[in-house]
Amino acid sequence: MTETELRERLLAILGGIAPEAREIDIDPEQSFRDQLDIDSMDFLNFVTAVHKQLGVPIPELDYPRLASLNGAVQYLLPKLPH
């Protein structure tokens, strides 16, 4: 998976959890939480979907690294199976 594909996949997952994510331009540097009306249940659903779809283990301690789009890409890309 290329970095572009990964970004698109993450945005699609996010849109499935917080529909307003499809309507706005997500700032990749800013946290999802600051841009979208998501709560801890939404974030757990996001992490669950990312784990299921990409097969990457995501310990709870690493949650802060997935807080923004850029952060998530940097965290997940090296862990993706090649």
């Binding site: 801890s40 249940m41 659903n45 669950t48 784990h51 299921k52 995501i58």
Partner: protein, 467 residues
């Protein structure tokens, strides 16, 4: 025979639109089955039935908006013989139980599910008649022919159109037919005691508009009081357009109506205490470290379970205030305030919280939040809540001051988890803490009892492994 009526899905609901039937005439239903989908300001709700039996008839057609209490369907209990007459459609037209069988009308073998339009009860006093557009335009073939004016007049008078003979073109029922009808109509007095009738006269309430909750559908003083209050509310409420399937303004209005009632009727007291949340959070983190994301817990389930257990010690916070008295509830059904993002807020109940383990609660909480947001909440989840938990999660502020949702008598708030300097033994430490608040109904409890509850909650949260 039992009537299945448009339920009140919250103290603020006046009417709902039947969207879909999940049952057919002749089909069996059991208590708790989902039988219909109703659209309200809170979205589409799956409505459960309280009686078991066989569906006798579907009275209201999908697409129709009707007031709370309107008969939607009739259900025959297992041992009742099948009715030989078409069921009488509405609460308005409900006859006193006949001493002898009524003259046979066409058997309901192929019972059309389309009711005569006139079967819809008249609007509550002071309200505008239901919009004509509520009458589906694509009428089934069995539909009675009647002019719109005749239907509207029949609705207002509570006359069953199927009892009339039309004099218009093709046997259509005209306005004149309806006007002429009352004289011919048998007296269909609602069941009510003389004192109730007297009181209804004083209040200016039409008994024909009320669904009785007493024996054999008799109208009780409480039914009357509710109807009078409803009429009052309808009079003072600003005129509003016919309800759209969903629009945010309607939900805001519904929330405002419930909270206005709460603030007007409930003498609130408020308590707050900040508790050391470190043990609870560490417990959750320890559990989650061993699990894939889909099995992980949110700390909210610890709050839910601890809240339910703490209520065992202060039961007067759990239940309903109805008809001027407190009805305690043995079961703890906790309403969980769920943000619908830009669309508002809803607090469906998680049932029997005290009896479930944390994993079960987590699974059900996920499901509940999901259904709250995409639709598919069940009627019981909106009507049997015994107490509410409002948690702002990590997005909010340290302290929230919640407002009780009637007819509940308490609400618990949880602010955001924050790191604070905290005294542990004789020293100072950095701990994650959360501020828990309680709003209680002074008619039922007081600050002393409320404080005992918060103390129990704090104590339970210090030993999360025992929850």
């Amino acid at each position: 025979m039992a009537d299945f009526v448009m339920p009140s899905l919250g103290s603020d609901m006046e009417s709902g639109t039947l969207v879909e039937w999940r049952i057919k005439p002749g089909g069996r239903v059991r208590r708790g089955d989902i039988v219909a989908v109703v659209e309200t300001q809170k979205g589409a709700i799956e409505v459960e039935i309280f009686d078991s039996g066989v569906v006798e008839s579907l009275v209201v057609e999908p697409g129709t908006e009707v007031p709370v209490g309107t008969v939607l369907a009739t259900v025959r209990s297992g041992d009742e013989p099948a009715a030989t007459e078409a069921p009488v459609a509405s609460a308005v037209a409900r006859p006193a139980p006949p001493p002898a069988p009524e003259p046979a009308r066409p058997a309901p073998a192929a019972a059309p599910k389309a009711p005569p339009a006139a079967a819809r009860p008249a609007p509550t006093a002071g309200a505008a008649p239901p919009p004509v557009s509520a009458v589906p335009t694509a009428a089934p073939a069995t539909r009675l022919r009647a002019s719109p004016a005749a239907r509207q007049r029949a609705t207002a008078l509570g006359i069953d159109l199927s009892t009339l003979t039309g004099s218009g073109p093709g046997g259509a029922i005209t306005l004149a037919d309806v006007e002429a009808a009352p004289a011919k109509q048998p007296a269909r007095a609602p069941r009510a005691s003389p004192s109730v009738r007297q009181r209804a006269l004083e209040l200016g309430v039409d008994l024909g508009q009320i669904t009785g909750s007493g024996a054999k559908g008799a109208i009780t003083v409480a039914d009357l009081a509710r109807a009078a209050a409803g009429a009052q509310q309808a009079k003072s409420a600003p005129a509003r357009p016919p309800a759209a399937p969903f629009e945010p303004d309607a939900m805001r209005r519904a929330i405002a109506a419930a909270m206005t009632r709460s603030k007007r009727e409930i003498p609130h007291y408020y308590l707050a205490t900040t508790v050391d949340f470190e043990p609870a959070l560490r417990f959750v983190e320890r559990v989650n470290a061993q699990r894939d994301p889909e099995q992980r817990l949110l700390y909210a389930v610890l709050l839910l379970k601890a809240l339910a257990l703490a209520l065992k010690e202060v039961p007067e916070l759990n239940g309903f205030w109805r008809q001027d008295r407190f009805e305690p509830s043995a079961a703890v059904h906790v309403g969980v305030a769920v943000s619908l993002r830009r669309r508002g807020l809803i607090a469906p109940a998680l049932h029997d919280v005290a009896d479930k383990d944390l994993d079960t609660l987590m699974m059900q909480l996920k499901d509940l939040v999901q259904r709250a947001r995409v639709g598919g909440l069940r009627s019981s989840e909106l009507t049997d809540t015994t107490i509410t938990l409002s948690s702002l999660g990590d997005n909010g502020v340290e302290t929230l001051y919640p407002i009780i949702t009637p007819p509940q008598v308490a609400v618990v708030g949880a602010g955001s988890v924050v790191r604070r300097p905290w005294v542990v033994g004789e020293g100072l430490a950095v701990r994650r803490v959360v501020t828990l608040t309680l709003a209680g109904d002074h008619r039922v409890s007081d600050g002393h009892r409320g404080a005992l509850f918060l103390a129990a909650l704090e104590r339970l949260l210090q030993k999360p492994e025992e929850l």
